[in-house]
């Protein structure tokens, strides 16, 4: 049984399709593994008969087409994706008990490729957070050190894959919500180009930034999932898909490829251990024949400021529909406005309320130009910075996160410190670019303790996913990261 769990998704899918393993046996092995969740990674599991009505009255673990590339593969799905009949909360009290009447395109595409839903994973409420501590259903614990956060907002998906509770997962990334938890949990996380994967059925946080992506054990699995997920969807006017599709990466060296390190992003505030792993990875790139240069992306420094105007502004209107009228929680009251206020006061957590207020303010008459308008102009300039860099270089590289996983509760009282976790990931989100985080090594946290995973981020031009995956594949192979929670960490 454990041998099955040791396989990557690509290996398992190949064996299932060759008839060497029965798909049902593989699925069952993972259901058992998921049932052992001690990290609060799952909010709902397919085997949990008490908490969910399966979609269409069928077994919610039903899998799609028998000979698809993901036949028999169970996927952990962030609780932000709607799946018909399966409880979907987006980590919020306001959607407690909500069962969507329809299924997200991303989930449907996985199903069409032969996969099924293993469970719904915990997350920061409405994807707002970098530690998973903003979930209304309690924080997810980092499998490397249960006193630490797994990152966020896709913390449940990252922890599940890292802890061997799922073979692979999907999440969403608005300003780093796939890459940062992947980094903190020592797995691969890919945020595709904005528009590569349909957003239909993915509960909106900031619509112009949100993007679905895979969280996997290795780069090959990320490519396999992306291949199934990507594509234009008539239900999402902003989706375009990736021309030519995605193939399994096979590149072994980096010769002829030019990597740029942004001078503005290589600054203070990076933990020494993270910096050491980052620099060692740069040496690995050179060893593989890649060329390294410093590049200037002068406006990326202002990424966080712009992001924390734009994302809350969009969120303030996206979350306005949770009004207690049609579905979800409702606070009973004698008057309409009282009902609205009571529902939203009880239903939303502090961070969500903070961002709704920020966003409402930024869009208010008389402030729009000073905040939203200005932030949009910064966004345009950041995109122009990247475009200039990509006219000279193939990739831009940074650490994924300035630190390794931090302690639970360490930053909950300091939203600004929490927001800085996204310093390296937000610029790519603002520019709509694809970026991947791969585990690059282990480092001791500031203040000491057992060593924890460090992620290395590679960003590419829009729709350059195939080249990005090739480079990440070559680098992953050379780095040879094989640490696992409980094996090299403190368990």
């Amino acid at each position: 049984m454990s041998e099955l769990l040791g396989l990557t998704v690509a290996e398992a899918a190949a064996r299932i399709s060759a008839g060497e393993i029965p798909g049902a046996e593989y699925t069952e092995a993972w259901r058992e593994a998921a049932a052992g969740d001690e990290l609060n990674a799952y909010l709902w599991r397919a085997d949990d008969r008490t908490s969910g009505t399966p979609p269409n009255g069928e077994d919610s673990g039903t899998f799609g087409g028998g000979d698809g590339p993901l036949a028999g593969v169970p996927v952990a799905v962030k609780d932000i994706f709607c799946a018909e009949g399966i409880p979907t909360t987006a980590g919020s009290r306001i959607l407690e008990g909500y069962r969507p009447p329809y299924t997200a395109t991303a989930v449907r595409r996985l199903h069409d490729a032969g996969a099924g839903v293993l469970g719904k994973t915990n997350m920061d409420e409405f994807a707002m957070g970098s530690s998973n501590e903003n979930s209304a259903y309690g924080p997810v614990l980092n499998p490397w050190d249960r006193g630490r956060v797994p990152g966020g907002s896709s913390g449940g998906s990252a922890a599940a894959v890292a802890a061997g509770l799922a073979p692979c997962a999907i999440g969403t990334d608005t300003g780093g919500s796939i890459r940062q938890p992947a980094s903190l949990c020592g797995i691969v996380g890919l945020k595709p180009t904005y528009g590569a994967i349909s957003r239909y059925g993915m509960i909106a946080f900031a619509s112009s930034l949100d993007q679905c992506g895979p969280l996997t054990r290795d780069v090959t699995d990320a490519a396999l999932l992306l291949s199934a997920l990507q594509g234009h969807d008539p239900c999402d006017s902003t989706s375009v898909g990736i021309e030519g599709g995605i193939a399994a990466p096979s590149r072994e060296d980096l010769s002829g490829l030019r990597f740029a390190v942004p001078s503005e992003l290589a600054r203070d505030g990076i933990e020494p251990g993270v910096r050491a792993v980052f620099e060692a990875t740069l040496e690995t790139i050179e060893r593989l024949g890649g060329e390294l240069s410093e590049a200037s992306l002068p406006h990326t420094e202002h990424g966080i400021s712009a992001y924390y105007v734009l994302a809350p502004a969009e969120a303030s209107t996206n979350l306005a529909r949770y009004d207690g009228v049609r579905y979800g929680m409702r606070a009973e009251a004698g008057e309409l406005v009282e009902m609205y206020e009571g529902t939203r006061a009880e239903g939303f957590g502090d961070e969500v309320k903070r961002r709704i207020m920020l966003g409402t303010y930024a869009l208010s008459s008389g402030y729009y130009d000073a905040y939203y308008g200005r932030a949009q102009r910064v966004r345009t300039k950041i995109a122009a910075d990247f475009a200039a860099a990509f006219s000279e270089f193939d990739f831009v590289v940074t650490p994924t996160s300035p630190s390794v996983a931090f302690n639970l509760g360490e930053k909950t009282d300091d939203p600004l410190a929490m927001y800085l976790n996204d310093f390296f990931t937000v610029p790519m989100s603002l520019a709509g670019l694809p970026a991947i985080s791969i585990p690059a090594g282990l480092a001791e946290p500031e203040g000491g303790g057992p060593r924890l995973p460090v992620g290395f981020q590679i960003a590419a031009p829009a729709f350059g996913e195939q080249t990005l995956l090739e480079a990440a594949f070559a680098l992953e192979r050379e780095i040879g990261f094989d640490a696992r929670p409980g094996k090299d960490g403190d368990g």
Binding site: G201, D236, A320, L363
Partner: protein, 478 residues
């Protein structure tokens, strides 16, 4: 004190008659059971996205082109944010600073802008107030939520209540002729709000305006604007200021009441809709819209007046009814070369009456008369083969039974009696029977002749030649 001049602009919402809603695949409906035409998208479930209705865009472009507007190369959808149970997303997808089209004209009125948006759901408030405040309960029917709407905003070019109502009718006919909406005010597929102000006649400045809502017929529009103009004149004459506010028209007693300021004090926090890309009509879409334009009422009125020398009243009557106008032109093409004004009079007068009678009294669903037959009837009158009165009797028969007018005239014995020898006796009898009228005519009251002519017509069942009868009466009484 200088005379006060009304300044009126209209804001019109037109519900498009597409098969499905603006941003989802639900069917449009009117009067169906509540909440049967809904889906996750129009109920604003978490995670859904809007997909624009191609046909709605086409219809909106047709309206923009018909109103001679300039279509924006890339117009932008915005979110207009406000909380209300009829607004499921808590924002309406509309257009804001870059609308679909701007700067057009219909008749004498300039068009400020034309944009696309979606309709709200319907709320029904249970209780005495009829409003959400103080209602016992409120119910929401989402069937209407997401219905495509085109909003048309005019410049403040109208100068009176009747003029406003007349222009709104012209707009309705124009949109109806495009075939893009039912434009029914009672059913709400055409909604007209008015911005009303007054100013000293001749002034270029605009006074403080009020916005009038809920006038769901042309008559109510006229009455509402009239009432508001009277109120504003009274205030101004008394030296009191007009306050900018939204007024609700009550059809029952024709009064206007202000909506609570709380209800209208909105900061809509407009945001470019991130779920939709800009609307960039292709050249093909634009030429398609242009080519699909029928001749619109304003152009038709102008053509009838200048080319066919038809009176402006007849031209307007014909242009308001595309079917009648088409029929009118077919009759003109018939051999015989009837005068256009004469044909217009027949079409808008006797024929319309005959068709209505067939529909209402005889229960004929689609009464008709082929254009050639009407041309023949007109010719028979012109050559005095039948009298005008006989022709009036003939039309209902032809509408109900069809047939060759000449044969029907023969069969029914409707040929005109213009032979004096035949008429003399009848005229004499009529004079004897109406001595008072005869005396009045003798003493110079020309109008009194009507009674005598009437008696002759009664006797001849309308077949007498009116001219000849007049001549004979005057001859005998002179």
């Amino acid at each position: 004190m200088a005379e006060l001049e009304p300044v009126i602009g209209l804001e019109i919402h037109v519900q498009l008659s597409t098969r499905t809603k603006m941003f989802c695949g639900c069917e449009l409906s009117f009067g169906d059971e509540p909440n049967v035409h809904t889906c996750p998208v129009c109920l604003a479930h978490p995670g859904v996205l809007p997909v624009p209705n191609e046909r709605a865009i086409r219809y909106a472009l047709q309206i923009a082109v018909a109103l001679e507007c300039e279509v924006a190369p890339r117009s932008i959808f915005h979110r207009k944010n406000y909380f209300y149970p009829d607004n499921p997303k808590a924002y309406q997808i509309s257009q804001y600073d870059v609308p679909l089209a701007t700067g057009g004209r219909l008749g004498d009125v300039r068009i400020h802008r034309v944009h696309l948006e979606e309709d709200a759901a319907k709320t029904i408030h249970v209780g005495e107030s009829g409003r959400i405040h103080g209602s016992a309960a409120s119910l929401v029917d989402f069937n209407r939520a997401g219905t495509p709407l085109v909003e048309i905003v005019t410049e403040p070019d109208l100068r009176g209540a009747a003029e406003a109502a007349e222009w709104a009718k012209l707009l309705r006919t124009t949109v109806r002729q495009l075939g893009v909406s039912d434009v029914n005010m009672e059913e709400g597929s055409l909604r007209v709000d008015a911005n009303v102000s007054v100013r000293p006649a001749g002034s270029d400045e605009l006074g403080v305006k009020t916005e009038l809502k809920n006038m769901n017929s042309f008559r109510f529009l006229e009455r509402g604007v009239e009432a508001e103009l009277a109120r504003q004149r009274e205030l101004t004459d008394a030296g009191e200021p007009v306050v900018q506010e939204t007024l609700h028209f009550h059809p029952g007693d024709g009064t206007l009441t202000a909506l609570r300021s709380k209800e209208e004090a909105h900061d809509y926090r407009y945001l470019p809709e991130p779920d939709l890309v800009p609307l960039a009509p292709t050249e093909a879409m634009l030429s398609d819209a242009r080519e699909s334009l029928p001749e619109l009422p304003a152009a038709r009125i102008a053509r009838y007046e200048t080319e066919l020398k038809v009176s402006s009243e007849s031209a307007a009557l014909l242009a308001a009814d595309p079917g009648a106008a088409a029929y009118f032109e077919q009759v003109l093409e018939e051999p015989g070369g009837a005068d256009a004004q004469t044909v217009a009079n027949w079409v808008t007068g006797e024929l319309t009456a005959a068709l209505r009678q067939a529909r209402e009294k005889d229960g004929v669903d689609e009464p008709s008369l082929d254009p050639g037959s009407l041309a023949t009837v007109i010719e028979l009158v012109r050559t005095k083969a039948i009298s005008h009165g006989s022709a009036k009797q003939l039309l209902p028969t032809l509408v109900l039974e069809g047939g060759d007018p000449v044969e029907v005239v023969e069969r029914e014995g409707l040929t005109q009696i213009s032979d004096s020898s035949e008429l003399e006796g009848i005229v004499d009898a009529a004079l004897e029977a109406n001595p008072e009228a005869a005396e009045q005519v003798r003493s110079g009251n020309g109008k009194a002749i009507g009674a005598i002519v009437g008696a002759v017509m009664k006797k001849t069942k309308g077949r007498a030649d009116g001219g000849e009868v007049n001549r004979l009466i005057k001859e005998r009484l002179s």
